[in-house]
């Protein structure tokens, strides 16, 4: 059993939700994960979404799998927004500290990343403190300026997140229509069965009348 943070529930990762021989998923390319992402977490998200379906048909499962991927992309893009800010902060510091440019932007980016994580070594802390002093900035000031500097790219990432939300809406409408269709078919089957039984009852009555 795994705890899913997104839905706040425990999920059985190996929970069987469909007849594997009728699944569409083996014929579709599967969503790929980045090297540092957890496959188990991804699968647990998928299983918790599938558990929401009353009677999952293969097509509904395929659509839910796409929906899970969209949620995953939203997560990635949200992390990217923070990374964009870090990138812009490193760029601003590097611009301001021309006398130690020799050490390169990459070293500064790495040191800043560790500094913001709180996992920086003493050397890295000194390095960033010196850079901030030289630039005559505090960390909040730097963040504000970086936000302004990176606003164009942050807007792009917002567009990407918005697109994933729109895609989720489309997928949800598709899943609803499959669900509605299967209910409709079931209802029509029941009505047909009722009509047939009514018809056979009528037939029996007619036969009784004729015989009497």
């Amino acid at each position: 059993m795994l705890y899913n943070d997104h839905f706040g529930i425990y999920v059985d990762v190996a929970m069987p939700v469909e007849d594997k021989s009728k699944s569409l998923l083996p014929f579709l390319s599967s969503p790929k994960l980045l090297p540092d992402e957890s496959e188990v977490e991804f699968q647990s998200g998928l299983q918790s979404l599938l558990s929401e379906l009353d009677n999952p048909s293969p097509l509904a499962v395929a659509l839910v799998s796409q929906l899970n991927e969209c949620l995953w992309w939203i997560r990635r893009h949200t992390v990217d927004k923070e990374l964009l800010l870090h990138e812009a902060m490193a760029r601003l510091l590097s611009k301001a500290g021309s006398n130690w440019m020799g050490s390169g932007n990459s070293a500064l980016s790495v040191a800043l990343e560790h500094y913001l994580d709180g996992s920086a070594h003493k050397d890295e802390v000194d390095f960033i403190d010196q850079a901030l002093t030289e630039a005559n900035l505090t960390l909040p000031d730097l963040r504000v300026r970086a936000f302004k500097d990176a606003s164009r790219h942050i807007k792009m990432v917002d567009d990407l997140i918005h697109r994933q939300h729109q895609t989720i809406r489309h997928l949800q409408r598709g899943i609803d229509s499959i669900d509605y269709k299967s209910r409709l078919i079931k209802r029509m089957d029941l009505e047909l069965a009722a009509l047939e039984s009514k018809q056979s009852a009528k037939g029996a009555l007619t036969l009784d009348d004729e015989s009497s």
Binding site: K22, L160, R173
Partner: protein
């Protein structure tokens, strides 16, 4: 100035004189240089095994033959877009750290040294410095790896929009 710095600038200057590929294989390879994701080329799903398997499985759900074909190709098309989306996201244009960090003004003596065998004028040195400065501006404008991958992925939004609209329409009308 280090030797590496001098060599990099010389290599970049010499690369400007390149006349491009000469062999057939080289020309064929370079003809694909501008290919980004391949989403503009028309796909041929109908002849694939996956398409036929999908159509068979979707038919069992009570959709009409036309709807099954639409849904199967919609699904395959959507996966094609999302695969390209992932590839674009994971392989953005690499950052040219040398060009981004080089001090173009301080490199002027190297430019004049590189140009001196051809009897260059100070004007030539200025032009070369301006050329490198322009390339550096472009490189810096692109930003770091996260900015690049965001910008590259942003270009695929319209493909994703069209792909999901097609799939959703096929499912709802089926």
């Amino acid at each position: 100035m280090t030797m590496n710095h001098r060599r990099s600038l010389a290599n970049r200057r010499n690369a400007l004189k390149s006349t491009g590929p000469r062999s057939v294989a080289g020309k064929r390879a370079s003809s694909q240089n501008s290919r980004k994701h391949g989403l503009n080329s028309p796909p041929d799903f109908e002849s694939s095994l996956e398409y036929r398997a999908l159509v068979d499985l979707i038919t069992e759900e009570g959709f009409s033959a036309f709807a099954c074909a639409d849904i199967a190709s919609g699904l395959l098309n959507y996966r094609r877009v999302m695969d390209a989306y992932y590839d674009t996201y994971t392989s953005p244009d690499p950052v040219d750290e040398f060009l981004r960090d080089v001090n173009v003004k301080a490199s002027n003596p190297i430019f004049s040294e590189l140009l001196s065998p051809s009897g260059s004028e100070p004007q030539d040195v200025r032009e070369m410095a301006a050329f490198f400065a322009g390339m550096q501006r472009q490189e810096r404008r692109k930003g770091g790896p996260v900015s690049r991958r965001s910008a590259d992925t942003h270009k695929l939004i319209r493909y994703q929009r069209n792909g999901i609209a097609r799939l959703s329409r096929a499912v709802r009308q089926g």
